[in-house]
Amino acid sequence: MAAHLSSGRVNLTALREAGRRELREFLDKCAGSKAIVWDEYLTGPFGLIAQYSLLKEHEVEKMFTLKPGRLPPADVKNIIFFVRPKLELMDIITDNVLREDRGRSPQRDFHILFVPRRSLLCEQWLKEQGVLGSFIHREQYSLDLIPFDGDLLSMESESAFKECYLESDQTSLYHAAKGLMTLQALYGTIPQIFGKGDCARHVANMMIRMKREFPGSQNSIFPVFDTLLLLDRNVDLLTPLATQLTYEGLIDEIYGIQNTYVKLPPEKFAPKKQGEGGKDLPTEPKKLQLNSAEELYAEIRDKNFNAVGSVLSKKAKIISAAFEERHHAKTVGEIKQFVSQLPHMQAARSSLANHTSIAELIKDITTSEDFFDNLTVEQEFMSGIDTDKVNNYIEDCIAQKHPLIKILRLVCLQSVCNSGLKQKVLDHYKREILQTYGYEHILTLNNLEKAGLLKPQTGGRNNYPTIRKTLRLWMDDVNEQNPNDISYVYSGYAPLSVRLAQLLARPGWRSIEEVLKMLPGPHFEERQQLPTGLQKKRRGGAGSRGRAMPDSFAIHFLKVLRELLAFVLFSYTVLLGALLLAGWTTYFLVLK
């Protein structure tokens, strides 16, 4: 069931298992039948740790969504709230508890499970409302880093960026540090930590501090990871703004992947059986899980979309050839062998059918003129063409009232690629946006400016060309079919974060000091002492650190970035004050 987690370079099943164990232990503490009241936000992440069956085994009979009012009737002994430690949620819980019918029998016991951390503040809050005593068990469930795929961990903290950069609330960084400590407890102390940016520095400081808080607990596990690289989101604002062009990237851009699931329009997936005449087209969106456990998907997910078609048609030929085999099967033995392979072949065939449908859906969009125009502008900006003046395409899009998110992405992209816009250009865009989309977006724009996504150029210097050239962010010769450089994922643009990671691996950051200084925040290096005996024997002389980054690494890295994009597109619910950008502040992957 968790095959996708063991497929990467590091087996992440252990992390998932640890999570499951902790959950089971908690559930068993509340003896008897239970109902869970969910903070809706948590259901997705929890689904990646434990399916409903696990909960069922531990006598969870009902599940509700947390909302004010009286709790639904359910004949269970325990009501357990699974919530994030937020005061707004505490108010809802208080309401629930106060409305509980005290006269009912048997009485139901209340418990709270805080995710990911128990909070004094919340408990104090509940105490002031006079309901703290109603909870028998108050515990925490440290769900910090959730294993998504064989090479991907996520905090699923969609508001982290907003909290860190707009509200100076570094709670999520604390969770990140805690999560990394858990990771180290399971996979050994990571000997080197590199980082860039204020938040990264803060996380590293906390990790060092947390380690000092438990001096006795020497970790005796041989370190699986060599290096931890922490990067602030604002070091590389460019990457999430540009349109991704891998297969998975496009699915995400267009339909949004959430908690590894994607919802697709159903028309293309109608069962094509004869006789039914397609009279009932399904109206529910088709929900698919996407991870490396699916052989075909693992193969094509990271290909440039232009290279996906050929793979799919090749696969189709192989599969139909395999089915043809049955005509050649003559002896009973051969037939038996054929039949034994049938389930696998059928699975492969349905997987192929799904992805062919998805590819068709995407192709309709990528071949449209608008997609092409948009991409052209993006690529012009990224390669440094005309970034300093008002762009006609953007103006036209505003005039035709294209979706605001598209406009904002382009304007921000231009701002980032020009180290800020000239005041006149910036004001022009802002005025256009306010007049077209409504004055209330003055708050949206203000927030973008606070986050640094949109800014006036200060000092009149544009650093981006230097950064672009030094880090080789723009590659003119991109091979989409058989890529030899990461720039293929954006058909030209090589993500800045990936370049930073690549250069760290070889030849080291010392070679790019100048550029690092141009990017925001400090860069640093920390070493964590390992007990003797766990230290790796160094091969060769002193300079053996610079190992080349494995080819696959860059891709692994990108999957982290992909998360952010998902959020950019889908947590966009601009109502006054609410903000457009969310996602990771600090994302990390580990060089092995």
């Binding site: 430690p85 005061l87 707004e88 951390r117 909070s119 004094l120 503040l121 104090q124 509200e167 100076s168 609330d169 570094q170 709670t171 960084l173 604390y174 540090a177 803060h202 400081n205 906390m206 501090r209 000092r212 808080e213 001096p215 006795g216 607990s217 103006e395 036209d396 505003i398 005039a399 035709q400 009232k401 004001d427 802002k430 005025r431 256009e432 306010l434 007049q435 077209t436 989309y437 409504g438 004055y439 209330e440 003055i442 708050l443 203000n446 006054l576 004050g577």
Partner: protein, 837 residues
């Protein structure tokens, strides 16, 4: 060694008992033990004495409470100032329980320092305590009381006090001659004798029970004894008969007639675990008798008044001058030391002795053992027997024998030998007269090293405890650091040293040893009233999570805030901030936050959700006009009435000006203007215009045909031409007003060119209109325009004219084989020509 068995006394065929002196007591008691209330804790624990209590009834003469180590060294003494004491007893944690007549139980530590007290309830208070017993079960230490009303009350665990009053015993007129507390199947019950009958009292009922197989001639019961493990019971009848059996009264072991009819002063069990013999020791004034399953018994003469202390594997006998231990000789020792024993262990011991004498007999003995292949057993026996010996000399000779035997064995696992050497080293150290804990090996194993260390800590023998930890290489957290922490907690109570000195001394010793909780030590210091010391100690605490609550408790909130921020744990910061908010007045609170940006921004967050008004005050305080402006904008959109909204925006406008944000100010001004206008339009045209953006307002006006008004807005709000043109043709096309579009297209030169006209028309499926504009499109876009309207011929011409290969290919790709073959041919030719060049 010939005399080794001289003090062995046989009981029956198989078993021997010996009495050996542990210590000669130097406590210099002037009065007899019988004049004192005595209590000695099991496992070689301390001895408590209340002197002068019984004889000296003169008022004013205060009795003295004294506590001695098992070797008779005075640990502490204190004059007894409280009420009349009935009973003394020790808890499992070596606290002294002093049970008073009024049912109050006072708890003292080993050093006569009062810890706490509790009461055994009102019923006991009224009727007074007649007798009391302290007992130990798996639940902890309990107290049982017989009140003056002849009722029993008990608490099974004094640390979790739940008083139970047992039911009445029918027909009980006077105090029973004897009673005991039994623990059966996790239930605590009282067994008492009334004449010839036995009653069992549980929580709810009182039942009569009888011991199986008791001789009919046996008279009333005078005494009873429960074994250390609560498994066995002994009853003494006035005929002199002792009945021994299980505590459940289901099985009888044996019966013995002592021939003495008077009740013994004390009767206790003396059995080692897993022994076949089960024996009871009875003490009268002048004699001691060991009886068991044998027609004979062992008698000792008592020169002095003595007190018996039951232990797990024997009995300690205390008197004014000595402290002895009476126990059954364990099997391994018997095998080795019994006269003429041929057991492998005995032979090995002999062999080793001969070897030391350099006699060849050593080889003979060894050969004998090896021929029977019993050498491993022999080594094992010697190791085991060494554990039971009290004299280091004997221990050594047995271990030497074991070591000698080991030389002749391949692959004999060394752990047992090594562990025994270590254990004996520890035991000899604690048995030392200065320390005075006479633990036997069996007791030590039962007690465990952790508990032994605790007991050393209780006696403040920190250096010895640490040495033992180091010697046994215990992990720091369980060993050294735990002891150091205890030491530190003791240290902070030393009032004669300055805070500075104490803190430094503690830090010097503790450093950052693993598992030390400085906050625990600091809490202790604070509890002793040394707040300054506590703060100093907290400085050494690496875990902020631990520092903060204590600092808050000590009302050092600002310091707590600093620590919370350092930890990075925002929850902790929030907790302190809200604490500060309640503690300080508003002004000081804000000032405090000013200096702590992390806390300030978190508090802002809190206010954003909970107290919006406070947020305004906060921004006001630091003159953050931009944010104030934003707040006004936000609240403006919460207003339903347009006047309210305008008022809010007006405030925002002022703030934006103060913030020198001219852009925002102007935009706000425009918005106010727009709002007023929209209200006007709404009233006049009876259509909702409110909340539309400027763009949508103009578009709606055009859609409804109010071109003049639209024009007015375009001018008033200085909408850029390009955008206005786009807007207008889109809106007109939606309205289907092609005539107006044509008019508009001719009004002046289009700032957006004419391709948009084509596109808009095509989008609305009006090819006819689209065709009108295609020729007006400039040459570089003309091909695209003709393709859009579907005029491939013209498109082809335009492309050929421009000699543009990409455009030709574009047109070609649109040509269908059937209808457009002529065009395609033309294009192919032109392209070929182009390529030739």
């Amino acid at each position: 060694m010939d005399c080794y068995t001289a003090n062995w006394n046989p009981l029956g065929e198989e078993t021997f008992y010996r009495k050996l002196e542990l210590y000669s007591m130097e406590w210099g008691l002037r009065e007899d033990l019988r004049d004192c209330v005595v209590a000695a804790a099991p496992y070689g624990g301390p001895i408590a004495l209340l002197r002068n209590s019984r004889r000296d009834k003169t008022p004013g003469a205060r009795p003295i409470l004294e506590i001695y180590s098992a070797s008779g060294l005075l640990l502490a003494s204190v004059p007894w100032k409280s009420g009349h004491l009935v009973h003394l007893g020790w808890t499992a944690g070596e606290d002294l329980l002093c049970i008073q007549e009024d049912g109050t139980v006072l708890v003292y530590n080993l050093f006569c320092e009062f810890k706490r007290h509790f009461s055994m309830g009102n019923e006991v208070l009224q009727n007074h305590v007649l007798e009391a017993q302290v007992f130990h079960t798996e639940f902890g230490t309990g107290v049982a009381i017989l009140t003056g009303a002849l009722r029993f009350s008990l608490a099974t665990n004094i640390d979790d006090l739940k008083l139970r009053r047992l039911p009445e015993v029918p027909g009980l007129q006077k105090p029973p001659p004897c009673w005991a507390v039994l623990s059966q199947d996790r239930v605590t019950v009282v067994l008492l004798a009334v004449g010839q009958e036995l009653f069992l009292l549980d929580n709810t009922s009182c039942s009569v029970v009888s011991p199986p197989g008791l001789s009919p001639s046996a008279g009333p019961f005078l005494h009873m004894a429960v074994s250390f493990t609560h498994r066995h019971l002994a009853l003494f009848c006035d005929t002199g008969t002792v009945w021994m059996g299980t505590a459940s009264l289901k099985e009888k072991f044996c019966e013995f007639n002592t021939g003495i009819r008077s009740s013994p002063k004390q009767m206790v069990w003396c059995t080692r675990p897993r022994s076949r013999q089960r024996a009871v020791v009875l003490a009268w004034e002048r004699q001691l008798m060991v009886v068991g399953n044998s027609s004979e018994c062992i008698r000792f003469v008592l020169d002095e008044d003595s007190h018996l202390v039951p232990e797990l594997d024997g009995v300690r006998i205390l008197s004014r001058s000595s402290h002895e231990f009476l126990h059954e000789i364990p099997e391994a020792s018997q095998e080795i030391f019994r006269i003429a024993s041929m057991a492998p262990g005995a032979l090995l011991l002999e062999a080793q002795k001969e070897y030391e004498k350099e006699s060849q007999k050593a080889d003979e003995y060894l050969r004998e053992i090896r021929e029977q292949q019993l050498l491993p057993e022999a080594v094992g026996q010697c190791i085991e027997a060494a554990g039971y010996e009290h004299e280091p000399e004997t221990q050594k000779s047995l271990l030497r024998a074991a070591s000698f035997g080991k030389c002749f064995l391949d692959k004999f696992p060394p752990e047992g030998f090594v562990r025994m050497c270590q254990d004996l080293r520890v035991l000899n150290a604690v048995r030392d007269y200065q320390i005075g804990i006479p633990l036997t090996f069996t007791q030590y194993k039962q007690l465990t090293i952790e508990v032994l260390l605790d007991r050393l800590v209780l006696r403040r023998l920190y250096p010895l405890a640490i040495r033992i930890c180091e010697f046994l290489r215990l992990p720091e957290i369980q060993g050294v650091s735990r002891i150091l922490a205890h030491w530190a907690c003791y240290k902070v109570q030393q009032k004669d040293k300055s805070d500075e000195e104490v803190a430094q001394a503690i830090n010097q010793k503790l450093g950052d040893t693993a598992g030390i909780s400085y906050s625990d030590i600091a809490t202790r210091a604070y509890d002793c009233g040394r707040a300054e010391l506590a703060i100093r100690l907290l400085e050494y605490e690496p875990r902020s999570g631990e520092q903060v609550p204590l600092l808050l408790k000590m009302k050092r909130s600002k310091l707590a805030l600093g620590k919370a921020i350092e930890s990075g744990d925002t929850d902790l910061v929030y907790t302190v901030v809200l604490h500060l908010k309640n503690e300080l007045n508003r002004g000081t609170f804000f000032m405090t936050l000013q200096n702590q940006p992390v806390a300030l921004s978190l508090y802002r967050q809190f206010c954003r959700h909970q107290e919006r008004e406070t947020l305004k005050d906060l921004y006001n305080q630091d003159d953050n006009h931009q944010e104030l402006g934003n707040l006004h904008v936000q609240s403006g959109y919460g207003e339903k009435r347009i006047e309210g909204r305008v008022a809010s925006l007006q405030s925002a406008l002022d703030e934006f000006y103060k913030a020198k944000n001219d852009f925002a100010a102007k935009a706000t001004e425009e918005q106010i203007k727009l709002l007023r206008l929209q209200r006007h339009l709404q009233e006049e045209l009876d259509k909702p215009y409110l909340d539309l953006s400027l763009h949508d307002t103009v578009a709606t006006l055009i859609l409804d045909g109010h071109h003049k008004r639209a024009e007015q807005l375009y001018r008033d709000f200085r909408i850029p031409d390009k955008r206005y043109w786009w807007l207008k043709i889109n809106a007109l096309a939606t309205r289907g007003d092609w005539e107006e579009i044509e008019k508009f297209s001719k009004s002046k030169k289009s700032p957006i060119g004419y391709l948009p006209f084509v596109e808009v028309a095509v989008k609305h499926h009006n090819r006819y209109e689209a065709r009108k504009y295609a020729p007006r499109v400039p040459p570089e876009q003309r091909v695209k325009a003709f393709v859009l309207v579907g005029d491939l011929e013209q498109a082809a011409e335009a492309a050929i004219e421009r000699k543009n290969e990409a455009e030709m290919s574009l047109v070609l790709s649109r040509c269908s084989a059937g209808t457009d073959s002529a065009v395609a041919e033309k294009l192919n030719r032109a392209r070929a020509q182009l390529l030739k060049k």
